[in-house]
Subunit: 144 residues, 2 copies
DNA sequence: ATTATTTCGGACAAAATTATCATAAATAAG
DNA sequence: CTTATTTATGATAATTTTGTCCGAAATAAT
């Protein structure tokens, strides 16, 4: 469904959001340990998320990553997915056409668009804050 | 969403179904040309679908692939996807956990399950016959 | 029977994705 | 100012997926 990069991106962002809620900046080391992801690979993804203005990075001792507290509720999963995987999730054709639309649809188009749009809606409506809620009370997990 | 292999598998099966409706067997060459897919790679996928009892293959001159006419309506997309991609589409976690369930869910689990189940239902309810219908009347396409 | 055609099946190759490593750049702290 | 720490960045490697090649096996037609 999502690329590994995107999976790590969402997990990392969620963890960073959780810590940012209590004004804490977190290091790459802590992040990749807490979400159980390869450190160097995660670094690249975080860098990309920073470039896309989703999180803020700081170099040097006591540096790390953080999300502006007042944006944790307005940053949606769709923003993260878009920053990493682009719009493939939203525009992609089930059968792999570069273009596929009502005008010249693949045989699965109509049925697939319904699912794809639901996914899109879900990602656009789900904020980082929502994802932190379950984590905070130990109801959901970022690693097994 | 689906692997390339799966995309080709669905397209190929749909084309074979279309031809099988008029009692015609089709060659690999014709198939890969009609769905615009790499021939040798498509061969492997077709072979796998044959092994999984979704289509029938025949060697030798005038050989090729075919689907039993009376099964075109009962073979669902879910069968094809399962034969090629396994159950990852149905059991996969949005954030990549090997296991992810209500008991120990990832932060996105509840919202994702809704989408995943819709996809599952759609695939289980869509037959090859349905996909051929639009093709026959030139409303849908297998290549652009 | 021989031959031409077509799928079968394994080895191999290319491309894309995922992951690692090493070094540079920034910066906080002493 | 120096040092230790941490992110930034590009090169490289491993893995997975996608795709190719070629000979084997089957079989229809001559």
């Amino acid at each position: 469904m999502f690329s590994k990069a995107c999976e790590y991106g969402i997990k990392a962002s969620t963890y960073i959001a959780l810590k940012s809620l209590e004004e804490k900046r977190v290091s790459l080391k802590e992040i990749s340990s807490e979400i159980d992801s390869p450190m160097a690979f995660t670094a690249k993804i975080l860098h990309q998320l920073a470039k896309n203005d989703i999180l803020v990075s700081a170099k040097g001792p006591s540096g790390g990553f953080q999300i502006q507290k007042d944006r944790i509720e307005s940053i949606k999963l769709a923003d993260i997915v878009y920053a990493i995987d682009g719009d493939s999730v939203y525009k992609g054709c089930a059968l792999g056409f570069n273009e596929c639309n009502a005008n010249k649809p693949c045989p699965l188009h109509d049925k697939f668009v319904v699912i794809r749009d639901e996914l899109k809606k879900m990602l656009q409506n789900t904020s980082l804050f929502e994802l932190t809620e379950g984590l905070e009370v130990g109801l959901t997990f970022l690693k097994r």
